[in-house]
Symmetry: D2
Subunit: 151 residues, 4 copies
């Protein structure tokens, strides 16, 4: 077994461990489709409880999907990271029943203990871009698999 | 009755109308405490279903509260506005059972049909800052009270 | 001549017209290397007057390069656009004498009159990422080639 | 002499030391008007070399002023900090000859070694808001007064 396989296995083990504790992701119906070092792909379907006062998907629901992809991508090496700063641009409205896919990728190791990740949220059907998310994370002490990170 | 009272009444009517349709805010247990022109104050308590894989409140839950305060503040004049871009900085973790208050205020009418709003999310108990959110909105056609905005 | 050639010619004409008026870009030694619809590639070399109190390139100089690439990319169709909101993440320090290249690309037509662009700033020598910039623009009245945009 | 006075003196000493090395701020004609712990107030006048292709102040010039206020505010305790991520919303165009004032304030100590600062850029004449800037900084090793920070 080579290092890439080991790193992929570790990323998947981190995703499984995080998801088991991640009641928010579970409650939203978010599924982890793929996890690799610095990368995660997740999906979520827009349900009735995610609709806002303009009758489209609440920005908070789309953010939650993107932020979860960010979390799984930046915690994929069994080093605990927390989100410092996130930005999201909404490019197209999502509607009831649509399945969204979030693809998160590391762009930079950043400065010191920090990193930068880009997450694109696409409508599954036609791959239209729904949102662009960028997150900056900060590595805290602790690991994903065995211990809790410091707050 | 003076103009300020009328503007406040309109802001409250917009908040009531939006909330009635806002299944996402209802589902999260978000309450609108106050709505005035360009201003909204909301609260939400962190429940089990908002906890993430690090055993703290999911960034998506905090964002959803802030984004909802943004929506109610920028739709308070019965002109439909949608969020274009939002940024959030997480400054302190929130935990199970904590009540959070989001205070949203207009900072600028912006350029043309756009506006800028700042939302602070505070822990109710000790007023510690949990997150700073800034949103840019875009005025679409339509009103809050009678018609649906264009997507 | 096909439409792509015409669109590329228009983008280049817009870049030439903007650069002739753009004393800021000229003063910083910024060069436009390439302009196409929704795309621009520029470079700039870090000079003594761009160094800050930490003896590295001032964030403002790097932002200026990225923001200029954003401006040329989003004004490449002869419709005047202004920047609404920009975010930049600094991923590696740039130093005196280094040549930086900024590559700007449209990611979305956005909502209504708005658009989203991503600009990557790289060190020319080794292609190391120096900064990631994302901008939201707003189309005002007016064209690039013949009239001034409304403020 | 009490602690507040000592902290203010330290902030001013840091500002003086940084400014002496800050050729970018000097070149732009930026002046430090006030420096206190977690706070800085600077000004700059829009000159010919800061004008862009739309005949208004280049976003990069306004960003540079705001980013400099951020730097002086977050380095005011003689602990070296570098900018990780900055966002700026442009709310009103600035024109040739206008004097701008940037007021930077700490909003949070942030998570671990990080902090969040808000900088408002105002036109001096009428106090109209020109831009809102928010920055996240990261504390590196080293001090402002005696050593160089790690890159």
């Amino acid at each position: 077994m080579n290092d890439t396989v080991l790193a992929d296995d570790l990323a998947q083990a981190c995703a499984v461990a995080m998801y088991a504790r991640d009641r928010a992701a579970q409650t939203m119906g978010i599924t982890v489709l793929e996890a690799r070092p610095g990368y995660a792909r997740l999906d979520m379907t827009i349900t009735e409880t995610m609709i806002n006062g303009h009758d489209i998907a609440h920005g908070g629901a789309i953010f939650t999907l993107a932020d979860t992809a960010f979390a799984y991508a930046c915690n994929s090496r069994n080093e605990a990271n927390v989100a410092l700063q996130c930005s999201i641009s909404f490019t197209s409205a999502a509607r009831l029943g649509e399945r969204l896919v979030a693809v998160g990728e590391q762009r930079s190791g950043g400065t010191g203990r920090t990193g930068v990740y880009d997450i694109a949220v696409l409508r599954a059907d036609d791959e239209e871009l729904v949102a662009l998310f960028r997150g900056v994370c900060y590595r805290v002490n602790g690991t994903v698999l065995q211990e809790e990170p410091e707050s």
